[in-house]
Amino acid sequence: MLQIGLGGTGGQGLIMAGIILAEAAIFDGKYAIQSQSYGPEARGGASKAEVIIDDTVIDYPKVTEADILLALSQDACDKYFGILKDGGTLIADEMFVNRIPETENPVLVIPITKTAIEQFGNAIFASVVALGALMQYTGIVSKEALLQAVLSRVPKGTEEKNRAAVEAGIALVG
């Protein structure tokens, strides 16, 4: 079982990233659950998505001890860091996360948003870049499944950029 937390601010597309990741796992024949926490009612604001992937049926739907925490904002990093299990990895965005909590866990600080902006002209691609990185780092989903999942969920006309964003994410870790 792999438990993943994805934290950031509303509008960064992390909920959608969680959905894509879970869907990719299913394409791989695995079991997956995605959930999220909301702010007041359904409005924007700080957001966290959770994904659990396993080879068998998953009982409890929430992340208890995350193997991975992806943090795309300082707020989210601070707020959700505690969810990481001992030895779990923090993957943090170089641009938005300036203070890394003191920890003995592995930490990966990578230029996710920067890559999105520089290579694809829009921070909106950060979440897909992050997915590429996550995939590469964990191997929890196959590249084919991830690409399939990404392409089935992104707006028409942006397929190529998103495909490239996955590759760019892979390259960040690779």
């Binding site: 879970a22 997956a32 659950i33 995605q34 959930s35 999220q36 007041p40 009612e41 359904a42 208890t64």
Partner: protein, 377 residues
């Protein structure tokens, strides 16, 4: 079977509704149920169905009852505050015997509470929320796949028993997405309300058949009749007779109680030899099964009775499952609701409630700790 997909609980309710033949949705947005309405708004026109956003939840209930009288299978979806507002017309639906399905995706209350946080605080309200007596069927799924299958059941029960059926989700189940394998449309067999076999001049709209349920032709199909929330005779007209009132009220209960077994949906895990039994439902059942598996690993002889049908409460099943149990543990996301029914069957001394009422999900650990305590491990 369809290929495995990632589907949200709320979406599964909506998909199942359409698969069951639901062709009318009247609703009013409210977190955490709104996705059901949004899905129906998009999908219903594709199958010739109708979606309408009404001015409030009372109007939503009214609209689906009207549409049901016009022959449609109908759905509305809401959460606590809206569910409270719907109570008067839920009673109307019970009294006038109008098939309808009401999904309540529970959030933390009372009042506005914490709109995006889960709870199981409307369980007793689902039974007793409206004034006066009537039988109730309420179903509570614990997974996205169950959302689909239980919604199919809800429509079947609504049509078969001619009554409002409450689908009690919680924010956990409504909002989470998980892998499901759903049946194809052609694999689904759905019930539609019985039609009369007599001609109009001999038709008595509230004359029950042996199953205590009267046939129900849609308006416009050649049978004129009167529908009222007043106490009414078999001819449908208002009546001041105590005898008529008594018979009507009894029938509203008996049409359900006589089909108790068919209506009672549940799952058992390891109950055969259980010294300790956990009784759970909805999102909390997910925590419970996880805790039970952990406890079993520790050698604790524990079983789980997962209720899907909450109302009518399955006293007999509970009785059977707990006959030899030393302790019965009832975790709920409320201050203690369904545990009261468990006490009626098992007695107060045997029953250990676990109540979480802060808008957060029950952790498996909390249940496990309680299990260890009762089992003295």
């Amino acid at each position: 079977m369809q290929k495995p997909r990632l589907v949200q609980g709320n979406q599964a309710v909506a998909e199942a509704a359409i698969a069951a033949g639901c062709r009318f949705f009247g609703g009013y947005p409210i977190t955490p149920s709104t996705e059901i309405a949004e899905f129906m708004a998009e999908q219903l026109p594709l199958v010739g169905g109708k979606f309408i956003q009404m001015e409030d939840e009372i109007a939503s209930m009214g609209s689906i009852l009207g549409a049901s009288l016009a022959g449609k299978k109908v759905l509305t979806a809401t959460s606590g505050p809206g569910f409270s507002l719907m109570q008067e017309l839920i009673g109307y639906a019970a009294m006038a015997e109008i098939p309808s399905v009401i999904a309540n995706v529970q959030r933390f209350g009372p009042s506005t509470g914490r709109p995006t946080s889960p709870a199981q605080g409307d369980v007793m309200q689902a039974r007793w929320g409206t004034h006066g007596d009537h039988g109730v069927i309420a179903l509570s799924p614990a997974s996205v796949e169950e959302c689909f299958n239980v919604t199919l059941k809800a429509f079947d029960f609504a049509e078969k028993f001619r009554m409002p059926i409450i689908l009690l989700l919680d924010e956990i189940i409504g909002h989470m997405r998980e892998r499901v394998e759903l049946p194809e449309q052609h694999e689904i067999v759905s019930v539609y309300r019985k039609q009369p076999i007599v001609p109009e001049d001999r038709f008595m709209p509230y004359q029950p058949d042996e199953d205590e349920v009267p046939p129900m032709p849609p308006f416009g199909a050649g049978y004129r009749y009167h529908v009222t929330g007043l106490s009414h005779g078999q001819n449908g007209l208002p009546s001041e007779s105590p005898e008529v009132a008594r018979k009507l009220l009894a029938r509203l209960h008996e049409k359900i109680s006589r089909s108790h077994d068919e209506i009672t949906l549940y799952e058992e895990y390891f109950t055969e030899d259980a010294e300790y039994v956990v009784v759970a439902y909805g999102g909390t059942a997910r925590s419970a099964i996880s805790a039970v598996k952990s406890a079993r690993k520790l050698g604790i002889n524990v079983g789980l009775l997962k209720l899907i049908t909450i109302w009518p409460f399955p006293y007999q099943v509970l009785e059977r499952c707990t006959r030899f149990a030393k302790k019965v543990i009832v975790p709920e996301l409320n201050y203690g609701q369904l545990v009261g029914e468990v006490i009626k069957t098992c007695g107060e001394s045997k029953v250990f409630p676990i109540n979480r009422f802060d808008g957060e999900i029950m952790s498996p650990e909390r249940i496990l700790v309680q299990l260890k305590a009762v089992a003295r491990r």
